[in-house]
């Protein structure tokens, strides 16, 4: 099977205006990720990992350079177009789970389907249950997020990220807030996703986990390195 490029960053840079002058969070970086790949992102605190991830998910925009994800050029899209595109094509997982506290686990998973008008309303609960089954959370479907452990919340969040069957799933330190046992279970889920053909990219500080990821990108002071070289 020919490998499709799913993430294509071409010379992107990101500069923030800080109180003490500009911060170059990302210097001209380029990166290609092929569909079906499992990519890890590592680096010291403040090196620019989250900034890189936000470029890919379209949560933030680069100062320069072109971002092409799932074949779309994100640079020219409006915020609403980005939101719609993200909802359909990218699953996002956060370090702090970020489930909406007033919705049950099940409802949290249906919400992205509703926003993107995916599936018929009647099919949504069934689909949500299927996703919860995948992450082993069917028993917790009717609970509110605050009643769950961190690991359970993160598994629910993973189910939510899959709600609209995205080709690409991205996590910014998705195991960062979990104990090692829960982190392990969650990581196992990621490996499953990749086996199913999803492209998965995650930031992690955990060296043990990173060693289990086939492709690892290092972020150092706004620059990307892969096996010591700058990727193109």
């Amino acid at each position: 099977m020919a490998k499709n490029i799913i993430i294509d960053l071409q010379g992107i840079g990101k500069t923030f205006d800080g109180p003490a002058g500009p911060i170059h969070a990302l210097k001209e970086v380029s990166l290609k990720v092929y569909s079906g790949e499992f990519v890890g992102v590592r680096g010291p605190s403040g090196s620019g990992k989250s900034t890189l991830i936000n470029m890919i998910t379209g949560i933030d925009r680069p100062t320069r350079g072109a971002v092409k994800v799932t074949g779309e050029l994100l640079n020219n899209m409006s915020e609403d177009q980005l939101a719609r595109w993200r909802g359909k094509n990218v699953g996002v997982i956060f370090q702090f789970f970020q489930l909406l506290p007033t919705l049950t686990v099940m409802e949290n998973i249906i919400l992205p389907m509703e926003f993107c008008h995916a599936w018929k309303p009647k099919e949504r609960p069934e689909r949500a249950m299927h996703l919860l089954d995948q992450v082993g959370m069917t028993d917790q479907a009717q609970k509110l997020p605050n009643m769950l452990s961190g690991g359970q919340q993160q598994r629910a969040a993973i189910a939510r990220s899959l709600a609209n069957e995205p080709a690409l799933v991205i996590g910014d330190e998705p195991t960062g807030n979990l104990d090692s046992k829960s982190a392990d279970k969650v990581f196992y889920l990621f490996e499953e996703l990749v086996k199913q053909g999803k492209t998965f990219m995650m930031v992690t500080h955990d060296l043990g986990l990173a060693s289990r990821i086939p492709r690892v990108i290092e972020v150092l002071d706004g620059d990307l390195f892969e096996n010591g070289n700058r990727p193109k």
């Binding site: 993200r86 996002v92 956060f94 919705l103």
Partner: protein
Amino acid sequence: MKISFLKVWRDLWLNKGRTLMVIMSISVGVMAVGMVVSSNILVTRQMGDTHIESNPSHALLYLAGVVDEDTISSLERIPSVKGVEGYSNSYIKWKTTLDGKWEDGSIISYAELENQTYDKMTLKDGAWPESKFIGVEEVHIQSFNAPEIGGTVYFEINEHPRAYTVNGILRNPWVFPAPMSENAAFYVTQNDFAKIAGYYGFDTLQITVPEYSKENVEFAIDEINDKLEFQGMSIAFSEILHPEEHFLQEIVSGVGLVLTVMAIASLGLSVMLVINTINALIAQQIPQIGIMKTIGSTRRQITILYMSAIFIYGLLSLVIAVPIGAYAGNALAKWMLNLLNVPATPFEILPNVLLLQIFIGLITPLVAGIFPILKGVAIPAAQAISQTGIGRGQYGYRLIDRLTSGIRGIPILAALALRNTFRRPGRVALTLLTLTISGAFFIMVSSTQYSFVKTIDTIFDGFGNEVQIEFEQDQRIEEVIPLIESRPNVKNAEMWVFRIADAKVPGTSGPGSEYEVFVRGVPSKSPIFKPKLTAGRTLDPADARAILLNQKLAGKMGVGIGDEIVIDLPDAGESNWTIVGLVFDLGGRDQNTAFADIDTLNRTLNNVGKSAVVMIQGTEQNLEIQQAIEADMIEFFDAKGMTIDSSAVATEERNNAAAQFGILTNLLMMMTVMMAIVGSMGLSGTLSINVIERRREIGVMRAVGASSKDVGIVFTGEGLMLGLTSWLFAVPIGLGVGPVFVKALGSVIDFPAEYHPAINSVWIWFGIVVVLSIVASWIPARRATQISVNESLAYE
């Protein structure tokens, strides 16, 4: 239901306190508007309806004597007149028990009580008066303890009490309850009237013209006057009435307008409160908005979600505001109608007011909410979900932060309270604005109250704040004065001459050129007459025909100091007078008084040395002494066979006038209280928002050893700080805008009160603000003290 709406519902429920706050504040505004508008509509409609129902005459002519039925029939034959009816009205003494004290009252009689033509009375209960059986004015049963059906009233006839039985309760559209009226009215047959009053005949005529217009009525009045003068009778004064509009409609509309303005002001305050609360709600929701965007929601979707929440707020507030507003509006209308002796209608919800309430109840919160929502939704997703999003870590950059943090050397808790107070400038500004506006209104309304009372005092001080008696016939001044001054409690007495005349600008003639004027002759160097001059100087005995003219009448006539006017005095013809001063006086009819030297006036009248009106100054100026003088005079002169036609005690009238204006100022105070409630709700809301936003900080304070008391002090201090700051703003605004407010109000109700700032109210508001601030801080501060370290640091 859609999941996203479910989320909004649950968020509302989760923030019960704030949801309630928004709902309550919308409700107060919507309620105030509903109440005032429905009351205005109900009152105006009911006044108009009952006015038309009474078959109103086109003019009331108060005669300078009485006429009989033949005269009335002859007047009806004048072509410009359509119908004439007369009634008799006499002041009498009455009591309900033989050993009771005599009370002032009046009896009214019609030729055909049951078949009146104009300004018809209505029989509310029992039967129409018959011989020895009388009717009582419905509203006077309460106002003056007049007996009900079956009760006995003793009238004074030839110094003896004569018993009459009440057999009917009536309503006369021209009779009002206290304090609009000063004594009780009874309705009697013509024979009984003659027995009690001692004479027979009609002293007031109700007339209509074939086709109503002001000119036609004026023309008819002139013709009637000519005919009456031919018979040696004349019209003392007349009043033209609109056939469809109640004769008090103008003043009621004025009051209604003032109330409407205040209701809109409280709605404005509510809106500010709503803006503040929704702003805070949205700020709290920013991270969630960020997440929703990340999982695929557009800004439009999120905006609709929150707008629908606000729509629900609006709906819920209507549930409260509509019934309370309708109830309060009906109650207010009933109360006002009762003051005007107009029967109220049963409880009613006006469809138009309902629509108006629904409109403002739904629209205003949406308008108030749209900006905070759009602002919140516009925050980029990256910023919204990051911990360093809005409002965090910004303290220290703004000018106000540097100002408040520059204040050093105060206790650390005070410093914290001070610096925290101004951390959210927008929120603080709106909170201060609501409190400031309520405070300013409080000071303005208090000043209005004070100005009214002071003005009434000035008037009574300047025009004989004394006992006034009027003899039936002119007396020789030099004979009467010594008699009066020899009586107990009397300090001194003087006589005035009262005449009703017509004034005009020289050289003018025809309809509209003549102005009714109440001319009063006053002694030179009178210790009683101390008028308030608005221009020119007072009278000088050396003047030729000099006159002080009421400033309002002068304005109407377009004349000023130094101008001459022609006065047509009864039985004396026209004479020219020079205006030397303008006076502020509420006397006469619509402020149409004029003052001249008594000797000059008497010479013009060919009446030298004579007068019927006595002004008596007591040894002390209080109600008891004045009433004692009045009673003594009546008895004393009665014994001498000199009949006193009428008497008045200034302090009594002063109190009565004050009570009448008190009705209005109390109404205004009620609206002010409503504003203060909104203001303190705003303060409480702001503080509880602050508590929620600063949970983490509170936790840290607790972690480093702050007691519950310390935390409480910081938040109560913040509340006090806001309250006192608003007071600092409210005082100059209240005192500064006060004169404008009093002037505007005065022109609306036709009472040109002088402005007197109520300095007391500044301190009273200070006290209220302190109490309100502490009360408003109570719940938020208590909540703050209940936050545990653990919970606050784990929050979010």
